[in-house]
């Protein structure tokens, strides 16, 4: 049935115009006034958040069949500069990312309700409003048809997450907020903007095309410089040494860390880098110039160094943050391998890692809500108090390490295949070593949570889980992580479609 439909679409058209991408972006932005208006009644306010989240996911989802059929959906918003429009385009790559983030928003919203109420946080209205806004920006990045639009949403995301990161409004939040802005806004203005203008000047366009736009129009030397500008300039991708904001940003409430710093913000960074590599530079051109190794090298360095730091981090969220930094570079590494499987693996990792890492963050938050503990060293024996949470944590960890039966295995498998395909055996080694490191910093937590002598155990007494709304989401995402192992569609298909469009085969 679906296949037949697909065929029809293929025959009918390749690109269709529709307002749906815009609606998908606006769905969350439009509920903001409602959220603010109903600030007097928390239930109604949270209802609006949920409405926005579900609506957004449904709109995104409704475009999935078309995208799976190989169709692109386009929507031009405004011709803001001659030759450069604000334009949205839904392709496989963007769909993959939008699907992940909009789906996880629903779960995070549920979790937020539990978490924020559980801790009786202040200024919840502001929190929900900016959360919704940042989701708009995230999907906006996913659906951007050109670099200008992407830049717009990228900046919007930075600014709308700033109040979330600094939600506590204390001295620590202030310095973290500074770091956050310094790295992210600073790099985007100081590096991305000039690079973007240089490309616009040289090529006269900024559209993402399957073969890139700079090929042949910009000299090799300039291209390598631009590549560096983009890889470092999209500091949300946290390629070292532009990673320092991420651990700092962990002062945010946990749902924020969970969604934004495991899914939305950081993935926007790597997604943007992936877009640059595929849509602006073009894999062919990069291959010709031999820049693949350069990017891979940067990514590999980040992977190893961040894993080593994560090993020594005591704060759970800090450990997760450094783990995230490493995992992000997997994605960049995968895409930069320029081999088919490598790219599929990299793109797939956007989704797989998201599910795994959000589980871990949810668990960290649940532990904090239930016990107030934030450090790994204080979690010995916690499995007795919170068995469900810690089970979910275990599954999430497995997924991030890349072991079956979790989704993370599939992406990592493709990554490994990719290194072989590309003949980058050094990278293969790095992948394997880093997986070991991943295991080394996650599994002891789980092990000591469950298996420890009673004298060592810091927790006693009966099972006391976090509030339901804090508990259900991690269980759900953990479950989904496992489901994705057995049934990695539609992500795998989307990733393949995306790669197909780029490599043309």
């Amino acid at each position: 049935m679906l296949a037949k439909k697909n065929k029809e679409f293929f025959e009918l058209m390749e690109t269709i115009g529709s307002i749906r991408p815009l609606l998908a972006i606006l769905a969350s932005a439009l509920v903001i006034p409602l959220i603010i208006l109903s600030r007097g009644s928390p239930n109604l306010r949270e209802l609006w958040t949920m409405v926005g989240a579900v609506l957004k996911f449904m709109i995104v989802f409704s475009m999935l069949p078309m995208v799976l059929a190989g169709t692109q959906i386009e929507c031009t918003l405004a011709q803001v500069l001659p030759g450069f429009a604000l334009q949205l385009r839904v392709d496989a790559l963007g769909m993959l990312f939008a699907l992940v983030s909009s789906f996880l928003w629903i779960i995070t919203s549920l979790y937020s309700i539990g978490y924020m109420r559980g801790l009786q946080e202040h200024d919840q209205t502001r929190y929900y409003s900016f959360f919704a806004l940042s989701l708009s920006a995230t999907v906006g990045v996913a659906f951007s048809a050109n670099l200008l639009t992407l830049y717009l949403f990228y900046e919007l995301l930075t600014l709308s997450t700033y109040p979330l990161v600094t939600h506590h409004q204390d001295q620590e939040a202030r310095s973290s907020g500074r770091k956050y802005l310094f790295f992210i806004l600073g790099t985007s203005i100081g590096m991305i903007l000039p690079a973007m203008l240089f490309i616009a000047h040289k090529t006269g366009t900024l559209d993402f095309t399957s073969q890139g736009i700079v090929a042949g129009r910009i000299s090799g030397q300039a291209t390598s410089f631009l590549v560096l500008l983009f890889v470092f300039g999209f500091a949300k991708a946290a390629v070292m040494p532009f990673h320092a904001w991420l651990p700092a940003a962990m002062v945010a409430p946990t749902p924020v860390s969970a969604l934004l710093h495991a899914v939305a913000v950081v993935k926007v960074g790597v997604f943007s880098v992936a877009r640059m590599i595929t849509g602006i530079f073009g894999t062919g051109w990069l291959d010709d110039l031999g820049l693949s190794t350069l990017i891979c090298g940067l990514a590999a360095l980040t992977i190893i160094v961040s894993s080593l730091i994560a090993l020594s981090a005591d704060g759970l969220k800090r450990r997760l943050a450094f783990s995230t930094i490493g995992q992000l570079s997997y994605i960049i590494l995968g895409v930069a391998l320029l081999s088919k499987s490598g790219m599929v693996g990299g793109l797939l990792h956007i989704g797989m890692h998201a599910f795994g890492k959000i589980t871990l963050f949810f668990c960290a938050g649940a532990i904090f809500v239930a016990t107030g503990v934030t450090n790994v060293s204080q979690m010995v024996g916690i499995g007795k108090r919170m068995p469900l949470t810690m089970s979910a944590f275990f599954i999430g960890a497995l997924s991030v390490i890349g072991l079956p039966p979790c989704g993370g295995f599939i992406s990592k498998w493709h990554l490994v295949l990719g290194t072989v395909e590309a003949g980058q055996f050094l990278m293969l080694g790095i992948l394997l070593v880093s997986s070991l490191l991943n295991a080394a910093y996650f599994l002891p937590i789980v092990y000591r949570a469950f298996f420890c002598s009673p004298s060592e155990s810091m927790f006693e007494g009966p099972m006391a889980e976090a509030p339901t709304w804090c508990l259900l989401p991690p269980l759900l995402t953990a479950l989904l992580s496992m489901v994705l192992f057995f049934y990695p569609q539609p992500f795998l298909r989307l990733a393949r479609l995306g790669v197909q469009a780029i490599t043309g085969g």
């Binding site: 405004a78 604000l86 717009l152 600094t166 500074r178 903007l193 000047h201």
Partner: protein, 506 residues
């Protein structure tokens, strides 16, 4: 009234002048009528300028002969795409400011409200006159009207305002006199005062060091008036110590209109070929602009008062526009013109927000921003938007003019200018987020501060206490304009600005 539309250019200067006179008269009898009368005049002018712009778009250049005398003999108004566009924005900015000024004008100039509005109207009359005139000497007269009223409006502020006002007056008079001298030399050489007429005669006289000197004098005079970097010393103090309503009027408009005058004189009187190809001033002026951008930004960093910080940003912004213009290519010039209108709105936005905060706290030190996000959420939201626009974040309009300016710099291969723009954007990030941090993180009042803001009822409790309604209206409209100008900047550039640039640029 169909016949009236041909007199639109005259209406644009005659109506505010008439309103100023009537306000002066009426005020002696009933001071309540001053504000409505001024607003009515503002509305008429806005309508007239929009209409005029529409006419320019459809019919091309409009020439209006005053007294019915043909150009070299009489004075003409000459409205083309360039000044038509700027006129619309300037009238709008002036109108919004007029509306916003109500409360604080009544508070600050209790007994002289009529004189304030009359001077206000005379000031904008002068600016409108500068914008539409096609006569080099007439430009000087209107320049002086705008300046003279500006000195008075600035000098009325408290404390150091008079001193700043007098300094401004001395510098401004030097500037205007240099310009006048330049025009005098041109008159000696050509025998004409009409811009187009002079432009027709001058090429026969090339190369002549007298023309070069006339050019330098005119430019130098206007540079003083627009506060280009080494000549900027009068500006920060003048804008800081002026009453808030005045700085939000003078800051967005004066420098921009002066930059327009520079463009007009360079392009229409001396012609593009002369200014860019015959003489080698382009490079030095560009470096001045770069110094202005970097210097203005850095000096803004060391300020502890909101208005002074904004004033130094204005100094940097002048560098943007001057630099963009003197890049001498299409992108740079488009950027400069676009930035004139964008910057007028952006500066209005931040200065109005500063005025609103000053009204509520009685203080414009940065520390007075404490707790402002709670206390004046809408005002601060608008200020954030204005700040983002000055930083250059899309989709606010500031991004797009910066886009053109930087592309112009890249096209001209002028790395220094590009770097300066980016540095200034980064500095603006620091500047504005420092303000926002204070407003966001620091609670309303922490005790033990030696010189604290005046105590008001309800102090300490973060209750929402927004700006006066009129001001809020102006603020929100400005914010909307920031976004609209951004979204339509493509159209503005292709349909208007490209028509306004010299044909040589293609």
């Amino acid at each position: 009234m169909g016949g009236m539309t041909e007199h639109l250019p005259a209406i644009i200067v005659a109506v505010p002048l008439l309103a100023a006179l009537i306000v002066t008269v009426v005020w002696w009898f009933n001071d309540r009528l001053c504000f409505p009368l001024s607003v009515a005049a503002g509305l008429v002018v806005c309508g007239a300028s929009a209409n005029l712009f529409q006419k320019v778009l459809t019919q091309g250049v409009i020439e209006y002969r005053l007294g019915g005398w043909p150009p070299p003999v009489g004075i003409v108004f000459r409205v083309d795409h360039l000044n038509g566009l700027i006129l619309v924005v300037v009238t709008l900015v002036a109108f919004l400011n007029l509306v916003a000024s109500r409360r604080s004008a009544e508070k600050e100039f209790r007994d002289k409200v009529g004189a304030f509005y009359a001077l206000f109207l005379l000031f904008i009359t002068g600016l409108f006159g500068i914008l539409i005139t096609g006569d080099a000497f007439n430009l000087f007269v209107l320049l002086e009207i705008a300046s003279l009223t500006g000195y008075a409006l600035i000098g009325i502020g408290s404390g150091r305002a008079s001193l700043s006002g007098l300094n401004y007056l001395l510098m401004g008079t030097i500037g205007a006199s240099l310009y006048l001298f330049g025009v005098g030399i041109l008159y000696v050489l050509t025998g004409s005062l009409n811009m187009v007429d002079i432009a027709g005669i001058l090429p026969n006289l090339w190369p002549s060091s007298a023309i070069v000197l006339a050019f330098l004098l005119c430019m130098g005079g206007l540079f003083v008036k627009m506060a280009l970097f080494p000549l900027h010393a009068w500006l920060p103090n003048a804008y800081t110590h002026a009453p808030s309503v005045v700085s939000s009027l003078v800051a967005p408009l004066t420098t921009k209109v002066m930059i327009y005058a520079m463009m007009r004189v360079a392009l229409t009187v001396f012609t593009f070929d002369f200014a860019f190809n015959q003489i080698a001033v382009r490079g030095p002026i560009l470096w001045l602009a770069i110094l202005a951008i970097v210097g203005g930004s850095l000096m803004a960093l060391s300020q502890r008062r909101l208005k002074k910080m904004l004033a130094y940003i204005v100094v940097a912004e002048v560098g943007y526009m001057v630099g963009g213009f003197w890049l001498g290519n299409k992108a740079g010039m488009s950027g400069a013109v676009l930035h004139i209108i964008n910057d007028a709105v952006m500066t209005l936005c931040v200065f109005l927000a500063a005025a609103a905060i000053t009204i509520r706290t009685g203080d414009d030190r940065l520390s007075s921003l404490r707790g402002m996000f709670k206390r004046m959420p809408l005002t601060m939201a608008v200020m954030v938007l204005g700040g983002l626009s000055l930083i250059g974040v899309p989709p606010t309009c500031g991004f797009f003019s910066k886009w053109y300016l930087i592309s112009g710099g890249i096209e001209a291969g002028h790395l220094g200018f590009v770097m300066a723009l980016i540095i200034s954007s980064l500095v603006n990030v620091v500047l504005f987020f420092r303000c926002f941090e204070i407003g966001y993180f620091e609670p309303f009042m922490r005790g033990g501060e030696p010189h604290s803001a005046p105590v008001e009822p309800g102090y300490g409790a973060p209750t929402v206490q927004e700006a006066p309604v009129e001001m809020l209206f102006a603020l929100l409209t400005t914010a909307l304009l920031l976004l609209l100008l951004g979204l339509f900047s493509g159209q503005i550039v292709t349909r208007v600005i490209h028509q306004a640039l010299p044909a040589v640029l293609g």
